[in-house]
């Protein structure tokens, strides 16, 4: 088991390297430069000075030299220094990571707590009005632009009803977390409800459930002893994929709710052409994905005896 975990963790390394290469290449051709992104009005900047800055930052070196330096830097777990704040990118991201994780976990928690039972209930009465109703709700949740949903939530729950604050981080704990987590969590919730429904339906039709019934079990035991865990195995992938990509999906919600996460740092950095910060953010976001999915793989190994990775 330990060997398996180590292998899976090691397998992330080439993946991260490939991602690093990809984003490096992508952002080496991005138009606009950090120097002009630094001020509202870029006029008054001396191009000679800009040129000097570029040279000092090594931006004029050939691509392969820059990539070499980049890799060397990454190899020492250094994400570089932000163009705009002159802080180590790692520090900047560290400051944003916990808020992002909080939001992501809350959103995923919401998705699981609501989505799983919803899918279950729908699957136990397939084709019924309850099923249809729940699935329409779920699909609707998938069909709304997130920012619009966020604004509607704010308008309803913050302004009209006054139940929750409309924005803010770190002041009211869960209170401030509610609306952003809701806005972010609705679509994974909907996806999870659908996947759960499909998975439970699949399992309910499986031969071994027929076996269980032929043993004389009542439906409750059939579900608890034989359906639940098997359905969970099918849903786990969706949970992993959704959870893993939530950090990235968060950009819109973070921007709307002024949530100080990695996503909003990324968007800011893109617009200000703070390339080291952009690269760092994307690396962290993808690393998060990889870590979650590696954990899911390991979890699979724990709950599904069929899986034997080499």
């Amino acid at each position: 088991m330990l060997g398996f975990v180590i292998r899976r963790v090691l397998q992330m390394v080439p993946m991260l390297a490939a991602i690093a290469l990809l984003i490096f290449v992508l952002f080496s051709v991005i138009p606009g430069s950090f120097a002009t992104g630094q001020q509202d009005e870029g006029l008054g900047l001396d191009m000679a000075v800009v040129a000097r800055m570029r040279a000092e930052l090594g931006l004029d070196d050939p691509l392969h030299v820059r990539f070499g330096a980049y890799v060397k830097q990454l190899a020492t777990l250094d994400l570089g220094v932000s163009f705009r704040s002159r802080q180590p990118v790692a520090d900047m991201i560290a400051a944003r990571l916990w808020p992002s994780l909080k939001l992501t976990i809350a959103a995923m928690g919401f998705a699981i707590v609501i989505g799983l039972p919803l899918g279950f209930v729908a699957a136990l009465r397939p084709g019924s009005l309850v099923d249809l109703g729940l699935m329409v709700i779920a699909v609707s949740g998938l069909s709304l632009p997130k920012f619009w949903l966020g604004i509607l939530l704010m308008y309803l729950f913050a302004l009209t009803l006054g139940w929750f604050p409309s924005f803010g981080y770190g002041q009211g704990g869960l209170w401030h977390l509610t609306l952003p987590a809701l806005a972010l969590g609705v679509s994974p919730m909907a996806l999870l409800a659908r996947t759960t429904r499909a998975a439970v339906l699949d399992i309910m039709n499986a031969d071994f459930v027929r076996t269980a019934r032929s043993k004389g079990m009542n439906e409750y035991r059939v579900v608890v002893w034989h359906v639940l865990r098997n359905a969970l195995v099918l849903v786990l992938t969706t949970i992993g994929l959704q959870f893993g990509s939530l950090l990235g999906q968060g950009v819109v919600v973070e921007k709307l709710f002024a949530w100080p996460g990695v996503g909003s740092l990324l968007v800011d950095s893109v617009f200000q052409r703070d390339i080291p910060a952009v690269q760092g953010c994307i690396l962290v976001i993808t690393m998060f994905f990889l870590v979650i999915n590696t954990s899911v793989d390991i979890a699979y190994k724990l709950i599904d005896p069929r899986i034997r990775y080499t």
């Binding site: 071994f208 027929r210 076996t211 043993k215 004389g216 009542n218 034989h226 865990r229 098997n230 069929r306």
Partner: protein, 327 residues
């Protein structure tokens, strides 16, 4: 319950398939009896209704299939309309079933010992600890080597034959009166199949358990069963003693089946002869012909076969046949 009372009586069983296009008879007027300890075979090609007949005895039919009439009696008690809870208490305890695909019929995420143990917990109120002990014993009885270790294995770690042994252990755990075996060896290799069949015969004989064997393989059924019912297109067309069926089939369909099989040893005895063919194709449930359902493929068919459904007729020797022109 008198000694002469049959264990299972199926009377005039009808099963309907409901589709958007209407309701179709998947099984029609099926009747047969099984005495205590008796072995009865139900033979037919895929889609003839043999498996759903078995499921209906277990009360496990699922939509779009549904019971449309008839009675199923277990030691005289009608069970087709029993409340769900009472029916459940029969399942596993008095009637047990094993299925064709032992891989999918077992829960892949549970150790097989646990899946056997469930039977003791469900029907004997045993604690899990006791139940798992008993499960190991059950594995010993189905001749699984190293049962203590095997009990902890998951289905995927076992071979097909071993899995089917586990299924048999589950089915026989509570010493049921009747074991329904639905194509129990189809998925297995021939040499393994022989072993499993022997095992089933042996264990059931020892417990006095009756067997309802369902298969498309006439040879297999006659090997195990004392009596054979041949089904075609939702009806029983012939019922015979196993000894007789190969030698004196009565129904043209059975006759065709027997004559069309290239049986080992025939070439040595008779030289290579062209096999007898049954013309046409097996009809689908939604396209059953009127009258005798075999009439479009039957060489003896006459007008009456098209118009009138033949009755199941008793021949003197205890065999039954559903044909206007039998013999």
């Amino acid at each position: 319950m008198s000694a002469s009372q049959p264990l299972l009586q199926v009377e005039d069983l009808h099963i309907a398939l409901s589709t958007d296009a209407g309701s179709f008879p998947a099984v029609e007027g099926v009747s047969f009896e099984i005495a205590r300890g008796e072995t009865v075979g139900l033979v037919g090609e895929s889609g003839c209704g043999k498996s759903i007949t078995a499921l209906s005895i277990m009360g496990l039919l699922k939509p779009p299939l549904g019971l449309a009439g008839g009675r199923i009696r277990l030691t005289g008690q009608e069970i087709q309309n029993l409340p769900a809870a009472e029916l459940r208490s029969l399942r596993g305890k008095r009637i047990a079933m094993i299925f064709q695909e032992p891989m999918t019929a077992l829960n892949p995420l549970k150790p097989v010992g646990r899946q056997i143990a469930e039977m003791f917990v469900l029907h004997q109120g045993a604690s899990w600890r006791e139940a798992e002990q008993k499960a190991v014993e059950a594995l010993t009885q189905v001749k699984v080597p190293a049962p203590g270790r095997r009990a902890k294995d998951y289905p995927h770690q076992l071979s097909g034959g071993m899995r089917q042994r586990v299924m048999i252990a589950i089915a026989l755990a509570c010493e049921p009166d009747l074991l329904i075996a639905d194509e129990p060896t189809t998925a297995l290799d021939v040499t393994v199949q022989a072993e499993i069949v022997d095992l089933m015969k042996e264990l059931c004989a020892a417990r006095g358990t009756a067997i309802l064997m369902i298969s498309h393989d006439l040879g297999l059924v006659t090997d195990i069963c004392r009596r054979v019912c041949v089904m075609y297109a939702g009806r029983i067309v012939e019922q015979q003693d196993s000894e007789q069926i190969f030698n004196h089939p009565q129904h043209p369909y059975t006759q065709g089946l027997v004559a069309s099989l290239p049986r080992l040893g025939m070439r040595a005895q008779h030289g290579r002869r062209k096999l007898m063919e049954i013309a046409g194709v097996v009809p689908g449930i939604t396209a059953y012909p009127g009258g005798c359902r075999f009439n479009p493929r039957c060489s003896r068919a006459t007008e009456i076969c098209v118009k009138v459904v033949p009755e199941l007729e008793a021949l003197g020797d205890g065999s039954l046949v559903r044909c206007h022109h039998h013999g």
